[in-house]
């Protein structure tokens, strides 16, 4: 059984830099888990601790139910793909693949069999005699994966393996990775800063920031129900619109518009609406008044950047500008007036200070929609 567990794992570096704060995570056998977050959030440190390359300051790391803190990287039966591949430049591809097996005193015929089988699977069999310096980026990446997988490890660790590939190759390799995982079923932990990779590859995603796990869940869960403003703003492309709003008379108000009910609120909240949640209010209906700033046509849809009328900019990231994802039939002109609306269940409220989600919005007949309120007001 190759389940992985982090129990209150903390890593403090010299100078009181806490890279990972008391991380608790359980990964099931065969699961593909992604650690995602911005640079410096602690994801790579967490991975390296699991690999045995860094020692945790406190806490326990377990593989297969066994605490492995005391074991060296070579004893944990894990394999890792590095961001820069870390292929041994002076050895042929064959030797690179065989290295780990030879270190474990495997017999030559068996080594040969495994190396060739893995090379077939990864499509690098013609490259066996070449040196890494003679390979392209994509080929090197495959050799790096081959070197890890040929050992048939219990746990497979990947540290941003696609970040050095160009966009097209990245898509291809992503697909191959997914296929490989379906075939081999090895417990995998994958670190990336790219939320698209995270969403497409992971069985579950762990969003991290400042050394702490913000939320753990399936891609859809994290997308549909973000635990806080950070997760909401990090997952989803383009990012969720997060706007500061005052709470007046029990409603969150953006500019002059009562956007949604905020029953427990007073003071300020952060309103979150995804670009794809916006729609244009039907004529004669109330909504958020805005005017178009510019638009970005993407073929299958258009991203309209608009500025909410009568909003006083209240800080660097909050100038009242929103992005709306619309169908390509829309041809907005700069300055054109728009009335925007969104279903209440797709509007999030976050605490202005802590970022924690305040309401779990649900579609219900009792909650007034924007349209109703507009007619009422």
């Amino acid at each position: 059984m190759a389940e992985v567990e982090f129990r209150a794992v903390t890593k403090r570096f010299a100078g009181d830099v806490v890279a990972v704060k008391s991380m608790d995570l359980h990964v099931d056998d065969g699961e593909f888990v992604i650690l995602v977050g911005p640079s410096g959030c602690g994801k790579t440190t967490a991975l390296r601790m699991l690999a045995g390359l860094d020692k945790p300051t406190s806490g326990e790391l377990c593989i297969g139910g066994e605490v492995i803190n005391a074991q060296g990287p070579g004893e944990r039966d894990i394999a890792m793909v590095f961001q820069n591949y870390a292929l041994y430049p002076h050895m042929s591809v064959y030797k690179n693949l065989a290295y780990g097996l030879r270190q474990r005193k495997m017999a030559k015929p068996e080594v040969d069999r495994r190396v060739r089988a893995m090379s077939e699977t990864l499509g690098i069999i013609e490259l066996l005699d070449r040196k890494p310096g003679q390979l392209s980026g994509g080929q090197r990446q495959r050799v790096a994966m081959g070197r890890a997988l040929v050992r048939e490890p219990q746990v497979f660790l990947l540290d941003e393996p696609l970040s050095n590939l160009d966009a097209k190759l990245r898509g291809q390799v992503r697909a191959e990775l997914k296929r490989l995982h379906q075939r081999l079923g090895i417990t995998s932990i994958y670190v990336t800063h790219d939320q698209v990779e995270a969403m497409t590859l992971g069985d579950r995603i762990c969003v991290m920031n400042h050394g702490e796990l913000q939320q753990v869940g399936t891609p859809q869960q994290v997308y549909d129900s973000p635990a806080n403003a950070f997760v909401a703003g990090f997952i989803g492309n383009p990012a969720m619109n997060l706007l500061r709003a005052k709470v007046v008379d029990g409603f969150a108000v953006l500019g002059n518009h009562q956007v949604v009910r905020a029953p427990r609120g007073h003071g300020e909240v952060v309103v979150g609406i995804r670009p794809e949640a916006f729609r244009l209010a039907p004529p004669h209906e109330a909504g958020i008044q805005a005017h178009v700033d510019f638009h970005e046509p993407l073929g299958s849809h258009v991203l309209v950047h608009a500025l909410i009328d009568d909003v006083v900019p209240s800080g660097a990231n909050d100038s009242g500008s929103v992005i709306m994802q619309a169908s390509p039939d829309l041809h907005p002109e700069p300055g054109e007036r728009l009335t925007l609306t969104a279903a209440p269940e797709r509007i999030f409220l976050f605490d202005a200070e802590s970022g924690e989600v305040r309401e779990v919005r649900e579609a219900s007949a009792a909650a007034p929609s924007l349209d109703e309120r507009a007619t009422r007001a």
Partner: protein
Amino acid sequence: MATASTVVRPRPPNLVRRLSRSEHVIGWAFVTPATVLIGIFGLLPIGWSLVLSFQKSDLLTPETPWVGLSNYQQLAHDSQFGSAVQHTVIYTLLFVPATMLVGLVIAVALNRNVRGVSIYRTAAYVTMAVSTINEAIIFMWLFEPSFGVVNSALAKVGIPQQLWLSSTSEALYVIVVMTVWGWTGFAVVIYLAALQGVPKELLDAAAIDGAKRFTAFRTITLPLLSPASLFLGIWLSINALQLFDEVYLSTHGGPLRSTTVVVYYVYEQAFQEFNAGYAAALAYALFMVILVATFIQFRVGRRFVHYSR
């Protein structure tokens, strides 16, 4: 008025100005001082030395009769030269590997970001600032048979006193020790720089692949150090074959010529025996040996040295 059938060539502007803009002239102007100097003090002597090797000269009188190949014939049968060659070769074969080994070991020890490591590194580099003469005098004192610290340290362990630089069998080895010490700083700098060029990720990958520390060093780090090793091997050999200063100061080639190395012999012949022609022939012979030794090392090195991109 120009007719259709003639082409009027514009008069060239001031010749000097045109020349001064010409890249050829400027280029030559820039290299001329250096070329003249290297010509006088480099090329001319190289050629002259060759000519001298076919002559008999005593450096004082202007007469230098031509003697053809007799200088070279002489050196082929000269037993003193043979001994000098032998001493030089033994010295080189001991000095070069020893310096490389010491340099490597120390560089590995210094390749850590421990607090205060720069102090230790400075201590290692310091030997580069010590001149050959300083070094020779210090070691003459350390190995002084009657009062030197080496003998007294040996005495404490029960080993009898040695004559060191006064002994025909030991003097050359003392010179090996002192020059290894003198060159350690250089070797450490080279190896440390090379070690720091080995990406740490490679050692991480090796650790995950199950390689123990020393195995990883042997199979990953050492091969990646091979360009530095080749360079050191060649550079140290070239210098070893030209050993002179320490021999001159500490033993004057003795005792009983046991430390006479080739360059010392050349010096003797040219400036003490006044056989300049013969000395020139000896020098050319040394030149050839250095050339061949370097070439061989280079070729052999190419097969084993890995240059990572």
